[in-house]
Symmetry: C2
Subunit: 163 residues, 2 copies
């Protein structure tokens, strides 16, 4: 229980540190400054995701295809990292995947509904990076974005970049 809290509290601290530090150097933040913070958080998540997937797949046999990897991410990876499975995985079979988590663990601290919706992107950037880092280490370069319409439900869109 407190292990989870330890991560959650640290995550909150990081988000606020990064935004405060940007603000203290730039004054009032415009969209470009905010994007810079988000991308910093995403990059941290990316490296964390790479580390996590390396530990998690140590004893896993290799994957047979892209869908097999995505299923692993939705089940095993999600359970270990976000403490539940993805509720729904959809794909167009052309490299786009939508992962729906109806109770995303990093958002459960927020009040439900739409009140803090505009704050959500700050708190999702790290997670998007984690997913992208994990996929990258499994050989899939991707773009990962997240969208919240009602807290704490969250949709991650993964678009695999074909080389």
């Amino acid at each position: 229980m407190a292990d989870d809290s330890l991560f959650e509290f640290l995550h909150m601290e990081i988000v606020s540190h990064i935004f405060n530090e940007q603000q203290s150097s730039k004054g009032e933040l415009d969209n470009k400054d905010r994007a810079a913070c988000i991308s910093l958080l995403e990059a941290m998540g990316f490296r964390v995701g790479q580390g996590l997937i390396e530990r998690l797949t140590r004893d896993t046999p290799s994957f047979k295809d892209e869908l097999d990897i995505m299923k692993f991410i939705c089940k095993d990876f999600w359970t270990k990292v976000f403490r539940r499975q993805v509720d729904n995985l959809r794909t167009n079979h052309q490299g786009t995947y939508v992962l729906q988590d109806n109770k995303f663990s990093f958002l459960t601290q927020f009040s439900g509904g739409k009140q803090y919706l505009d704050q959500a992107p700050k708190y999702l950037a790290f997670s998007c990076g984690v997913v992208r880092g994990a996929l990258s280490n499994l050989g899939l370069e991707s773009v990962v974005t997240a969208e919240v319409s009602i807290m704490p439900s969250c949709k991650f869109q993964v678009v695999i970049q074909k080389l």
Copy 2:
């Protein structure tokens, strides 16, 4: 398992982010710059410790004295946050406590021995802050420092500030 890793990896990222960002604004770091980084990490830990202790003591009866609080920190708090109990608690009964953890969880990623000893303070500042934040919320203002002589064993010194 991965929950712990999630925290560990994020913690590593923060440490390196804070030092890198100081370096990119100041160039080569001198002792004063390093102290500024350490104190930033310590302050993050402080707020995290405050949050954690609030959750952990929700159902705990109140403490009868200072030693009672220290025992709670060494047993319950340490177990939840650092995943084991403190191995040894000593005190001079005048407000100074030495908490010895022979296998401190944030240091187990390092090779044993003395090789990375000079790196230890970076990775202990956050934890010192966590302890200080927890004590502060329980009504004890303190100064917390950590000392490593052989990895991964670590001694925390807590000096209670009498008001």
